[in-house]
């Protein structure tokens, strides 16, 4: 299963795509980091893959 992540450009915290997709727009979960992360920050092919296989990233 392809595992997609995004790294916060401000603090380096890595966030899984399922977390980004769940929130769509979120404050970086790195403690004290004010960066705003968006699902749209993922590359287009990664977003498409995730959305086509969305059920597999849920539990």
């Amino acid at each position: 299963m392809r595992i997609i992540t995004h790294t916060c450009p401000a603090c380096g915290t890595v966030v899984a795509a399922n977390e980004l997709e769940k929130n769509r727009v979120m404050k970086c979960p790195g403690l004290g980091c004010q960066e705003v992360l968006r699902f749209e920050h993922l590359p287009e092919d990664a977003r498409e893959h995730f959305l086509e296989n969305r059920d597999r990233y849920q539990i």
Partner: protein
């Protein structure tokens, strides 16, 4: 070599303690379980550590570990979110790991012997992965590895009816980056998770050699209250304890006692080690603290008899009674009902609590 420390999970078997925090921060001998893992990794020369966070306790874990500098390591946080399995957690660490090998360490486990030998054994050959094993009495209840004469793993079997060995996987692994290709090829199991044992099996089928290292010292998964007590007992048995605090004249002490310098054992109290007493805690007259007990910071004990127990901290325990084999959460208070009418116990008990009266 890097480290990937798994700190997710719901901690459901440790409720109600985990209603207010992650299981990896429950203290054993007055130190959060997670700190033992960080120390083990550092001892093995691993100072770049990715800490995997789930949905619970993210801020608390980051507050404790910070950037890792207090521990002499460099920490990167990796938010897995949904608990999609150990292989998913490892997969989330791919960018962090890069082309390095890495140790994967379950953050709620404590291992007496650390991971030095596991890492050495892996580095002595050209392996796709290395797994830690331990001999168990009931192999039917575990994931079991079959190994050849050289110690190379030949097969992994989950809870076999007819186990070929009694060597159980204990949740400590070393991986080469080849595992990421195996994870990429995985499908979720019947329980919807990406299983790390499936990834290792794929490595085997791709002709990678898998090293095994049999752990001889104790190992504890601290997932349940009784496991915390057992781990506390094992760690107190092995740890050097320093009596830095005040033991008043007239206090009776025996055995090894860890007493923080701001804590006091007062005249008339009895403490029999091994015991660990954290900062700003007072053991008052009439109290008995027995072996294998850890008392957390900012607590007061008076008149109570307590042994083989863990008090996490910020507690007032002043009842005249016996507490044994118990785990008391932060801010839990136990007071006397002797002067109250009508007679009887008065309880404010949270969801999922367990009491034996």
């Amino acid at each position: 070599m890097k480290g990937v420390l798994l700190s997710g999970g719901t901690g459901s078997r440790l409720r109600p303690i985990t209603h207010t925090g992650p299981k990896q921060l429950v203290p054993v001998a007055n130190k959060p379980v997670l700190e033992y893992a960080i120390e083990d990794l550092k001892e093995a020369g691993i100072t770049e550590i990715g800490v995997i966070l789930g949905n619970k306790g993210r801020d608390e874990i980051q507050e404790l570990l910070g950037d890792g500098s207090e521990y002499g390591v460099d920490i990167t946080y990796i938010v897995q979110g949904n608990p999609l399995g150990l292989a998913h957690a490892a997969g989330c660490a791919k960018d962090f790991v890069g082309d390095d090998d890495f140790v994967m360490y379950l953050g709620d486990n404590i291992l007496k012997s650390g991971v030095i030998e596991l890492v050495k054994s892996f580095e002595a050959g050209d392996y796709g992965a290395g797994i830690a094993l331990q001999e168990v009495d009931d192999p039917q209840a575990f994931g079991i590895a079959d190994v050849d004469n050289e110690g190379n793993v030949t097969e992994l079997i989950e809870k076999p009816d007819e186990p070929p060995t009694n060597l159980a996987l204990i949740g400590m692994y070393v991986f080469s980056p080849a595992v990421f290709d195996a994870i990429n090829d995985l499908e979720p199991s019947w329980r919807g998770e990406l299983e790390i044992t499936d990834a290792i099996q794929d490595l085997l089928e791709d002709d990678y050699e898998i090293d095994s290292h049999v752990v001889t010292g104790w190992w504890k998964d601290t997932g349940k209250p009784e496991d915390i007590l057992e781990a506390n007992r094992l760690v107190l048995e092995d740890t050097k304890l320093n009596t830095a605090g005040v033991v008043e004249d007239g206090a009776e002490t025996d055995g090894r006692i860890g007493l923080a310098d701001s804590s006091v054992i007062e005249d008339g109290a009895v403490v029999r080690g091994p015991v660990s007493i954290a900062e700003n805690t007072t053991i008052k007259s009439g109290t008995y603290v027995g072996p294998y007990t850890s008392i957390g910071a900012n607590s007061t004990l008076e008149d109570i008899h307590i042994e083989n127990s863990v008090v996490i901290g910020d507690s007032e325990i002043t009842a005249n009674g016996r507490i044994v084999d118990s785990l008391l959460g932060r801010n839990a208070n136990v007071e006397s009902a002797d002067d109250l009418l009508p007679e009887g116990r008065r309880l404010v008990v949270g969801e999922n609590s367990q009491l034996k009266l």
